[in-house]
Symmetry: C3
Subunit: 202 residues, 3 copies
């Protein structure tokens, strides 16, 4: 179940990578490459920082095939998809929710402390998107004013606290994934920002 | 022979890194630093992803010295070189051909599967250039419309297939290097792009 | 003592990361994230290249807490700080001096050669800043005309030479840190550049 959800969120990330290239008139292989980097980038950086070798997609090639296949498919339906950018923001929110919580769970299971689990959850969830935005020369999502890092941080903090005092992944994982997804979705729908005194005005 | 070719292609990459800084009025050490990062970056990322420690230029310092020396020399002849940008595009094509095939061979020899070998060939060949373009604030070569990733992908696929059924590096390596180089050179000379239905129009 | 100085320089780096976001109207968590990445980025890349696991801030959480706390505090005084950009350039110079020399010492103590120590000193000192400038979409400090890499390189070369023939860290470390800091400070104060024939004109 978790494995399939992980694959699903990775596929969603690959699609956002493909969409990010829509104004560039790229050929298909560059598009697939960018989609795959977006899907695999965050987890790769997490595994490299933890020294957790072999990297997850090197030991299980299905991750590679899924991200490449989804990017490939997304390329051919790119016009339809770019008209559904709103839907995709929500799918991206779902991907971020799943990525952060499964990464935190994985890190905890490897024996690291809760703080490291939170950091790895953040890294996995947002670094793929940062690489995508840099490579495709798009405005960086992290630098937007809508809440992006905040829901992830709040959800992860609740997750590691729950997991520490009440280690029941079968319940905690879906709960916290849903929590992050709902918070981020509200941020997109209502264009939520933090209160003014939490924003750095120049 | 392979070792010398590897050094040669690395030197070519260093030169492209130096040329990328030509409009920036940088001092010599920044230029050498950028040249060296371009030359060593792709292989460093490959070794870090594979967990193949020590990184190749840490265990064999000659890679470091060659990339630094070539960048140093290129700095002083930068005007002459920037007038020969066409020649350099072809040298870059040669560098990419050599890098991708030797990386795929190295990855195969370490016991990884053909798919991982193809991925590592692509990473080694293009990530150095990506880092160069980001650091020097140039338009990213990967995002250009000319065929760039396609020749590398086709050549690598043929290489791992040949290598699997007919493991004779002495013949396969030069053959596939030449194949990628010729394809990429034609793409530069004839400004080849993929057929229209392979291009993502916005 | 060295440990405290290392923490101090990391805090200074975190502050420069926070200041780099001052024109972006970001919320607090994005700002703290960027500050922490700036503070921890250079050393993380160094440890990943050396394969020196666990990464320093994974094995000693105080690095993480200090960089997060300092970024947090800096966020609330960001207006006062941005008016003191000159002071901060000097603090950044101090951070770079400390980072480069302590990284070179650490690398030497791990048994690597002097050349690798110099390279790791450079990587630790400037990569955090490079990541900051890329993520915050600021002009890259490395690409500025003022001397930036040169003082670091000169100081590191003197340090590894001294350390090889006269291994007395208690004296060599403060001496070379001061040397880099003074050189870089002069570069900032007098707007020093290398002589014209050392600059790449296009």
């Amino acid at each position: 179940m978790e494995y399939i959800l992980g694959m699903f969120s990775m596929g969603v990330f690959a699609i956002t990578g493909v969409i990010a290239t829509r104004h560039k008139n790229l050929d298909i292989f560059s598009v697939v490459l960018l989609g795959a980097i977006t899907a695999l980038g965050g987890g790769t950086i997490r595994d490299m920082i933890l020294g957790n070798y072999p990297i997850y997609w090197v030991s299980d090639l299905w991750y590679l095939w899924v991200s490449v296949s989804v990017s490939f498919a997304a390329f051919f339906v790119i016009k339809a998809l770019s008209n559904r950018y709103q839907l995709l923001l929500y799918l991206d929110a779902l991907g971020v929710s799943l990525f952060s919580i499964t990464a935190a769970l994985k890190t905890t299971n490897l024996g690291y402390s809760p703080s490291i689990a939170v950091v790895m959850g953040i890294i996995t969830a947002i670094f793929g998107g940062i690489i995508r935005d840099i490579l495709s020369d798009s405005p960086c999502l992290l630098l937007s004013k809508e809440l992006y890092a905040t829901p992830v941080l709040v959800g992860l903090s609740i997750f590691v606290t729950l997991n520490h005092y009440w280690p029941n992944p079968a319940l905690n994982v879906p709960l916290c994934v849903a929590m992050i997804f709902v918070m981020r979705s509200c941020a997109i729908f209502y264009k939520l920002e933090l209160p003014k005194w939490f924003i750095a005005r120049s």
